[in-house]
Amino acid sequence: MGTIKQYWELFLVFFKIGAFTFGGGYAMIPLIRNEVVNKKRWIQDDEFIDMLAIAQSMPGPIALNTALFVGNKRRGFKGSLFSAAGVILPSFIVILLIAMVFTQFKDNEVVERIFKGIRPAVVALIVAPLLSLGKSAGVRWKNLWIPVAVALAVWQLNVSPMYIVLAAILLGISHFIYLRTKINK
């Protein structure tokens, strides 16, 4: 009966992570590390760092990818279902309650005034980490044109980010093939 307890434990640990990390993504990483590496010792720290690099290079929320990886490492595919359910459920419940209440109050005059103040703040919160994120993503003067071109294409030309992602992946791979054939010659 030990295994049922292990599935349940996976669910609970990731439920806790899902419930107490605000802002998502990068804010969740230290908490996940503390739970999974330091407290539970499910995986080693160097493996966690390697896994993080891969979770970040895959599509989808980083917290979900991390939960899926840890769950899978611990109890296989079924384990990953439990850890994923755990990390998803808290925000699902909270947002569902908010959606039910907020859709009734959003035309309220006081609520509207509050949100008039919040909307520009939302934009500021998106802009604020750009510089430090850009540095860690390897943006330098030489390749600054890439983010600038992407931002303009999506903002002004209404290009779907889906095509941007596909084009960036194809360009990156063809550049690699080009460099490799040049070396071989």
Binding site: S57, S91, I95, K116, V123, L125, P129, A151, G172, I173
Partner: protein, 185 residues
């Protein structure tokens, strides 16, 4: 629109968001915006901004939060009962998680071969700076006359931007900007 058309449309939209949403968090915003606001017109830009604000103050990744919220509101705004809205939330949340589940299951199986893989690294070489452009476009798209009504909006933007760069807690900043909205408008 019938539920039998709406549910599959929601599923496909959020599956795409999960599949092409590289970089997590804010980097997924322009993709969500493109699918939800532009393509399907399930909500307006200002409603979308409000969801981002709610996501920034509630636990969990933005992709889950918007999936849950949009799943509920798209269904109920078309006049269906709230029970059908809950099903809409569940469909969107499942759809946005499914690509991660498939990819991370494969990745865990091939983990050691993918680590330091030159093909993956080359695919990411242009994608990483492109993701910074996607985040910038998320901010640019949200600079609309609805979100920035007058000079007071820009004052709030400036104050929150400066405070956020100085690492003031985003939840506190959203709360304070809501208070500023109440006082100023």
């Amino acid at each position: 629109m019938e539920l039998l058309d709406l549910y599959p449309a929601l599923f496909v939209a959020f599956f795409k968001i999960g599949l092409f949403g590289f970089g997590g968090g804010y980097a997924m915003l322009p993709l969500i915006q493109h699918e939800i606001v532009d393509t399907h017109q399930w909500m307006s830009v200002s409603d979308f901004t409000d969801i981002v604000a709610i996501s920034q103050t509630t636990p969990g990744p933005i992709a889950f939060n918007s999936a849950t919220y949009i799943g509920y509101s798209a269904v109920t705004e078309m006049g269906f009962a709230s029970g059908y809205g809950v099903i809409g939330s569940a469909i969107c949340t499942f759809a946005v998680s499914l690509p991660s589940l498939i990819l991370m299951t494969l990745v865990t199986a091939f983990f050691f071969r993918l680590k330091n893989n030159p093909w993956l690294q080359s695919a990411l070489s242009i994608l990483k700076p492109a993701i910074i452009g996607l985040i910038a476009s998320a901010a640019l798209i949200l600079i609309t006359p609805y979100n920035f009504i007058d000079y007071k909006s820009w004052i709030i933007f400036g104050v929150v931007l400066a405070a956020s760069i100085k690492k003031v807690d985003p939840i506190l900043l959203i709360f304070l900007s809501g208070v500023m909205g109440l006082v100023l408008y």
